[in-house]
């Protein structure tokens, strides 16, 4: 099954794309072939591709703002552990590829199979692809991202989650918390699969703080940004956290 074309434009087309993509995610869940991220090496790189639709100067500018905001957030995750020793300290090696001030990678994937193979073979924590859409009603731009990341089942299972980026400045924190939540959860799942128990709990704890921060924002801002696939991921995460809390209280 293939993703709908990334070149679709218009609000309704985008919504349709997200809905189809969410359904498609379920179909992609079957495990893929060989183990490719060697041994217990953690996944610590996030790769960003040039988004479709970011062709004219205005769209390019908005895309670069998005990259800076998301890029600094990922760098901040690494910075948060810079003074810490012990198991969690490996997270300081988290990198964004390319750095926010360098041109993004060209997106040449033909289909989802290619994306998934690349994710497995190159040992990335996340791959970020997306599109920028002009919204005529408000004369603004909207950025949507598909994040490809792992699952807690095993190191070769992957999933896709869609995150939107806002047209209003006030809604930027929700988007940043959403990206932060997804990244912390991706790191946590990988830590669990690579047998880093303390790091797993620490990263789940951080993911929890990011996830709960989404709920603090006005519902109107949340509704603009939260996609079905992200909400599904939150449900899975909440269950995992509940289990951890239950274990801690025993």
């Amino acid at each position: 099954m293939q993703l709908p074309s990334m070149n679709m434009t218009g609000r309704f087309a985008r919504r349709a794309a997200i809905t189809v993509a969410s359904a498609a995610t379920v179909a992609w869940l079957p495990k893929l072939a060989t183990a490719d991220c060697p041994g217990d090496n953690p996944r610590l790189q996030v790769r960003v591709y040039q988004y479709s639709g970011a062709s004219d100067a205005s769209a390019k500018g908005r895309f670069e703002v998005f990259r800076r905001l998301i890029g600094t957030q990922l760098e901040d995750i690494a910075t948060a552990y810079r003074d810490q020793s012990g198991e969690i300290s490996y997270v300081t090696k988290l990198k964004i590829d390319p750095p926010p001030n360098a041109p993004a990678h060209e997106d040449r994937f033909k289909d989802v199979e290619e994306v998934s193979s690349f994710w497995r073979l190159e040992c990335y924590l996340e791959l970020l692809r997306g599109h920028v859409i002009y919204i005529k009603d408000s004369d603004t731009l909207d950025v949507s991202t598909s994040i490809y990341l792992g699952q807690s089942a095993d190191r070769n299972s992957w999933q896709k989650v869609d995150v939107r980026f806002p047209v209003q400045a006030a809604a930027v924190p929700v988007a940043r918390f959403a990206y932060q939540f997804v990244t912390y959860y991706a790191l946590a799942m990988d830590a669990k699969l690579t047998h880093r128990g303390t790091a797993y709990r620490t990263l789940m704890s951080k993911a929890l703080e990011a996830e709960k921060s989404i709920d603090l924002r006005p519902k109107q801002e949340q509704d603009q940004l939260l996609t079905d696939s992200l909400q599904d991921m939150r449900k899975a995460f909440d269950q995992e956290v509940a289990t951890l809390i239950k274990e801690a209280k025993r």
Binding site: V65, R68, L69, T72, Q73, E75, D76, T79, A80, R82, D83, G86, E87, P100, N101, D137, S138, D139, T140, V167, Q168, A169, A170, V172, P173, R176, F177, G197, T198, R201, T202, M204, S205, L208, E209, A210, K212, S213, L216, R217, V241, L244, I245, E247, A248, K249
Partner: protein, 372 residues
């Protein structure tokens, strides 16, 4: 290099900028924000002045005649560029600053509504670092220390550091209407008085705050010249970022009442992140314990928000240790025994949040094992 010195009610005795010693001084370095000029400079000026407005040398009223020493909000004029955490720490080290704030500014169009159109605002993405390496101060009031009398007859000390040393704040929106009022701090007009509004010059690059009065601040300039600066709309756009930085500064200066006041704004804020709320409760707990009261309500609030965070577990353990010692000192033997039981339970339950060989956890577990 331009530098601004802002010390509440601090009087300079000589023309040079003298302090007793860096060992007595808290320094907060605000690196100029990166972004398109002049917007980035204006936004940086707004945030800088907002933090400056929160400094105080003593509470008001001050029946206990407290003094929190000298505070300095400082900047260097090195080109901002997108700096890394390592570069920020290096700047903090060179400036002997305990806290360093830096950030990026993005012009951002806010779509108000189809009718009202689009407004250009500024988004600020700021980071705060409190590096352990840059620490010339002799006293560190923000360290939580509990001394315990163990069964072996020895005194054992357990210390806890501040909750975290790196923060990435939520993006803050600075309305263009506010940013436009502040081009650079040193361009602010100084007036003879708030009523006559007779200008007596620009503020320059060195000034001391004496007191704040609504949107006015009384300043002292070199040569003992005194005047007032007007800072309109500044407090109205104040943010969780500013309140949190102010709360941390106050904790670092041992201003515990002031810490609680600022951190309460965060815990009650409708916009602060979960992370900031948790840490605001922990700072409130620290402040209350430093004043001899129990911070357990605040720690319970932090635990309710995140029962999986090691930093919350550390503060929960510290609070119980302090309670145990208070009960012991007051010869409340039964109460102390009950607290000790709870303490052992918390230590057992939080074991998985720490590395197996975590030195802090191992030390606490050993010390508590020796208590009776």
């Amino acid at each position: 290099m331009k530098r601004v010195l802002i010390v509440l009610l601090f009087f300079v005795l000589s023309p040079s900028l003298c302090f007793a010693s860096d060992r007595d001084l808290l320094k907060f370095l605000v690196v100029p924000f990166d972004g398109p000029k002049p917007l980035a400079t204006s936004v940086w000026t707004v945030v800088y002045l907002q933090i400056w407005r929160t400094l105080r040398k003593a509470p008001d009223p001050n029946p206990s005649k407290l003094s929190f020493g000298d505070g300095l909000v400082d900047w260097d004029e090195v080109q901002p560029a997108p700096i890394t955490a390592d570069a920020a720490i290096e700047r903090a080290r060179k400036n002997n600053a305990q806290l360093v704030l830096w950030g990026d500014v993005y012009p951002y169009q806010s779509a108000l509504s189809p009718r009202r159109g689009v407004r250009d605002d500024a988004l600020v993405q700021a980071q705060l670092l409190l590096p352990q390496s840059a620490e010339p101060r002799a006293a560190k009031p923000e360290t939580w220390r509990v001394t315990l009398h163990t069964a072996t007859g020895n005194d054992e000390i357990v210390e806890a550091d501040i909750p975290q040393r790196a923060y990435s704040f939520d993006t803050v929106v600075i309305p263009q209407t506010v940013a436009d009022l502040y081009s650079q701090p040193w361009f602010l007009t100084v007036y003879r008085s708030t009523s006559t509004r007779e200008p007596i010059g620009a503020i320059g690059d060195t000034f001391w705050a004496r007191r704040h009065l609504n949107e006015w601040t009384q300043v002292e300039l070199p040569g003992r010249k005194v005047g007032w600066v007007r800072l309109p709309k500044l407090d109205s756009s104040s943010s969780d970022l500013v309140n949190f930085c102010a709360g941390v500064i106050r904790a670092f200066r041992g201003d515990w009442g002031g810490t609680v006041a600022k951190m309460k704004l965060i815990s009650k804020s409708t916009t602060a992140s979960w992370l900031l709320k948790i840490d605001s409760y922990l700072y409130q707990a620290l402040a209350k314990e430093k004043q001899g009261a129990s911070g357990q309500d605040e720690i319970a609030a932090a635990l309710a928000l995140n029962p999986l965070a090691a930093r919350v577990a550390i503060y929960a353990i510290m609070s119980k240790l302090a309670q145990y010692q208070r009960d012991k000192t007051a010869h409340k033997t039964e109460a102390a025994e009950a607290v000790l039981k709870q303490l052992r339970q918390i230590i057992d339950r939080s074991q998985e949040l720490f590395d197996r060989d975590d030195p802090w956890y191992s030390h606490v577990a050993n010390v508590v094992g020796d208590l009776k």
